[in-house]
């Protein structure tokens, strides 16, 4: 019976002080911070980052047979987004990649699919946007999580759950709209609380548990008021209710439940039970138990939720936030906008563009981008592909370009030398232009460089290694 064998959350580098909204608009905002996907991130790129963390923490040799991607804010419709995740994680072409998109609730299908058999991964990701000054802007958050399911080395096993479905109008958004709309807040509370009570009752009965036996309880949903009410209404111990991180990263919508589960698993003890209650167009309850394997997992784990939050910057300017989300159109530099990436070369080089594979010749020289002809020997097609996405590098030299086109100028570009060979020129991201220096250590990050003609240009940038090292 499959269970969770690894997981990883991704919390973006930037956070916005809610008070910055209040200062600028005279209203809105509030206390604490919310996480913000950078100008070069979207739900797909953040899912890739979460997936890289989850796979790095997974048991040796783990490879998913399918990936399931769920978000309420997909980068593309018509075109599958999960295929970009699949490509960026360099998964074999035999592995499936599917979107289960459109609503927060769709994550349940992704998790059910991934948890059904064998080794599969579920990805959840969201970029929550609200109109300036509104509650969704202040209380939303951006994050992603990836959950690896498998048959061996299970760190967390589900032992039941329940689902109640209901059709009612609480929150909605037409395709193309930037922000969603919500019915009167008290109505959502009225609708959700009895649904959650019923679902939780059924889940407890099925598992032969009483509500107060759970060690950790996660209540998740975009309706914050309803989530708080449900936590009090389902009979669980108040101290078991997990911090939903909303004061630090905000409510990350489709990603919230799994990010919170990652955070709980980061500190849960073997044998402890976890109840996950998701309020989204009904209520889904998922009951989980941590296994002894969790300790072995933790020994090799990197990038816990708490570690990532500790390595963020919380001083993003509100004007930058508005610019990044498209609410503030700023004067561009007097430079041409970039061309959209072309489909045929992107297909021909998708191992490079998405998988970040270079080519290594017989002398060990690594060519980035991959080359058919060896620089040193001139040999043709005597190369083997080498994936560089997870290799760390050192800045050989760098510059700050104040003229180049960017949604977030200035562009910081660097020449980086990879550990063990390979040089590459690329953009730096999540970096302070005034602090970068020769010799700094960097790691690669999958990003959306820009969007032109509706085409998202995904590629890799380097960023200072999060948390030092």
């Amino acid at each position: 019976m499959p269970g969770i064998v690894s997981y990883g959350a991704y919390i973006p580098y930037w956070r916005l002080q809610r008070s910055a909204i209040t200062s600028a608009l005279g209203s809105g905002g509030g206390r604490g911070t919310r996480s913000v996907a950078s100008y070069d991130e979207d739900t797909t790129s953040m899912a890739v980052e979460a997936g890289r963390i989850a796979l790095a923490n997974a048991p040796q040799g783990y490879s998913p047979q399918n990936v399931w991607f769920s978000t309420a804010t997909p980068a593309y419709i018509d075109k599958t987004n999960a295929t970009a995740i699949h490509a960026a994680l360099a998964l074999p072409d035999g592995a499936g990649a599917f979107d289960v998109n459109g609503s927060v609730r769709s994550q349940v299908a992704a998790l059910m699919g991934a948890n059904a058999w064998g080794s599969q991964m579920a990805f959840v990701s969201d970029v929550r946007v609200g109109l300036p000054g509104g509650g969704d802007e202040a209380n939303g958050g951006d994050a992603a999580a990836a959950i690896c399911f498998g048959e061996g080395n299970v760190v967390c096993q589900d032992f039941g759950g329940a689902s109640v479905t209901a059709e009612f109008l609480d929150r909605w958004r037409e395709p193309g709209d930037q922000a969603s709309k919500q019915w009167e807040e008290r109505f959502g509370e009225y609708a959700y609380v009895p649904l959650a009570q019923e679902a939780f009752k059924r889940a407890c009965a099925g598992a032969n548990m009483s509500p107060d036996q759970f060690d950790h309880v996660i209540v998740s949903g975009l309706h914050g008021r309803a989530a708080k009410a449900v936590a009090k209404a389902i009979g669980v111990k108040p101290e078991a209710v997990a911090d939903d991180l909303s004061t630090v990263i905000g409510n990350s919508g489709t990603a919230q439940a799994m990010v919170n589960l990652c955070d709980v698993l980061d500190r849960a003890q073997p044998g402890q039970t976890i109840a996950l209650v998701l309020l989204a167009d009904g209520c889904n309850v998922w009951l989980l138990r941590a296994t002894d394997e969790l300790l072995a997992f933790r020994a090799r784990q990197t990038n816990t939720v708490a570690q990532q939050i500790a390595n963020t910057r919380d001083d993003l300017a509100y004007a930058s936030y508005l610019t990044w989300r498209g609410f503030l159109h700023r004067e561009p530099p007097r430079r041409p906008e970039p061309d959209r990436p072309a489909a045929p070369p992107s297909l021909r080089r998708n191992q490079w563009k998405f998988g970040f594979f270079g080519s290594k010749d017989e002398t060990g020289f690594v060519h980035l981008p991959p080359s058919r002809v060896s620089f040193g020997t001139g040999e043709i097609d005597h190369m083997e592909p080498i994936r560089m996405a997870d290799v760390k590098a050192t800045i050989a030299t760098y510059t700050v370009d104040r003229l180049a086109f960017s949604l977030s100028p200035p562009v910081v570009a660097a020449v980086i030398d990879f550990d063990g060979g390979g040089r590459f020129q690329c953009e730096l991201t999540d970096v302070d232009p005034n602090k970068v220096k020769i010799g700094d250590r960097v790691e690669m990050s999958f990003r959306r460089l820009f969007t032109q003609d509706g085409v998202h240009n995904y590629f890799w940038k380097a960023r200072p290694i999060r948390g030092g090292a």
């Binding site: 430079r335 970039p338 061309d339 072309a342 563009k353 003229l403 020449v415 390979g422 460089l449 240009n457």
Partner: protein, 398 residues
């Protein structure tokens, strides 16, 4: 590698060069008409006397029609060449070979660029469709890699290096102030240069060459025919052009303090011209000062300074108009801007003017005292991935 050169086989017998600047009132066609007419008049020829044409332009037109249409050239070979920022020099090089081969008697090399119609700052280059993975930084950013690398390698204090770069810009503007064809015809104080707004890395706006429109042209014949047209021809001593393997961005051993391509083309050109000590033998050099650190590094790559000592020579005034080896006596790209297809021929025009003693207030003294050779240098691309051109011309047959 065989590189035999065509020393003293061909000669320049006439040149023309437009004023460089923001020519809102002139098209590329207008500038081609002006520079070609001036060159023909200078050589005492008519358009019909020219057998073939080589046109250098990177973005102001495609094909030979870009020249034949405005000049109404009647069914003659017109070759369009492009080689990044060395485009003008490349037109000249290929035109010289055509004469040396015996295929033609009289040819024209002409370069033009109309940059100021784009509406953008800096250069705009159309690229083929690609996968979107290439780093897209501006030219000042890619050349700004040089300065910190140089300071780091040779232990030059960053503040002192800033003085060196400032002095290069100051010197070139000082020369340009004496040149009526320059885009910027005035001296700029070191303080203004040093305090100019930062564009990329450590480069301020005065560390960058300007953006301008311009055109220049040369008429080339066999050396033995030169005196039919002029008393004072210039003989082509060396033409070298190399494209590097673009290894800088992929090879960790490249350290951003040199252009290997320039070193290779300089060695080749000196061999062709029989030059063993360029600093002593050359009367002047026109080099590709697209950004101030480029000129600094070029002093070493072209063999004018010892490795690691170029910055001292700059501070000592070695390359000033009255220095040991004047560099960019016409004001360089700093004063002229850089209309791509025209720049290489504009450099040659200064050699033409100086070696014939026609440079007026900026005439180099050593040319009247026995020095007869001048060098031009272009590079295109970026540190670690570029093309380089070096020519040597002289007023005497060896």
């Amino acid at each position: 590698m065989a590189s035999h050169g065509i020393r003293d086989k061909v000669a320049i017998i006439g040149m023309g060069c437009t004023n460089f600047g923001e020519h809102w009132d002139k098209s590329a066609d207008d500038m081609l008409v002006e520079s070609s007419s001036a060159a023909l008049q200078n050589a005492g020829l008519k358009l019909d006397d020219v057998d073939a044409f080589w046109l250098g332009t990177m973005g102001s037109g495609l094909s030979g029609l870009t020249l034949s249409r405005p000049l109404k050239i009647q069914h003659k070979p017109v070759t369009h060449v492009e080689n990044f920022c060395a485009t003008g020099s490349e037109a000249f090089r290929n035109a010289c070979y055509a004469v040396a081969s015996g295929a033609y008697d009289v040819v024209m090399a002409i370069g033009v660029e109309k940059l100021k119609d784009s509406g953008y700052s800096g250069l705009v280059v159309a690229s083929p469709a690609d996968d979107g993975s290439a780093l897209t930084v501006t030219a000042p950013a890619s050349f700004s890699f040089l300065a910190p690398a140089y300071a780091n390698k040779y232990g030059v204090d960053p503040a002192e290096l800033k003085d060196v770069l400032t002095r290069i810009a100051w010197k070139n503007h000082r020369n340009g102030a004496l040149n009526p064809r320059a885009q910027f015809k005035k001296e700029v104080s070191k303080e203004t240069i040093a305090c100019s707004p930062i564009i990329a890395g450590q480069l301020g706006i005065f560390d960058c060459s300007g953006v301008s429109d311009g055109s220049a042209a040369a008429i080339i014949v066999r050396a033995e025919d030169a005196h039919k047209y002029t008393k004072n021809p210039l003989y082509v001593k060396a033409l070298s052009f190399v494209a590097g393997p673009a290894d800088g961005p992929i090879d960790p051993s490249y350290d951003y303090t040199s252009f290997d391509e320039v070193v290779h083309s300089a060695v080749d050109a000196y061999k062709q011209a029989g030059i063993t000590n360029p600093r002593a033998e050359l009367a002047m050099a026109e080099v590709h000062d697209c950004f101030t650190p480029t000129e600094l590094v070029l002093m070493e790559d072209l063999g004018f300074s010892e490795r690691g000592y170029g910055w001292k020579d700059v501070l000592d005034g070695t390359f000033d108009l009255d220095g040991e080896l004047p560099v960019n006596p016409d004001g360089g790209l700093k004063s002229f801007g850089h209309p791509i297809g025209a720049s290489g021929l504009r450099m040659l025009f200064e050699c033409w003017t100086q070696l014939r003693g026609e440079a007026g207030p900026r005439q180099i003294a050593s040319i009247g005292q026995g020095k007869t050779k001048a060098l031009t240098h272009n590079l295109g691309g970026a540190p670690g991935a570029c093309v380089s051109f070096v020519s040597v011309v002289g007023s005497e047959l060896d």
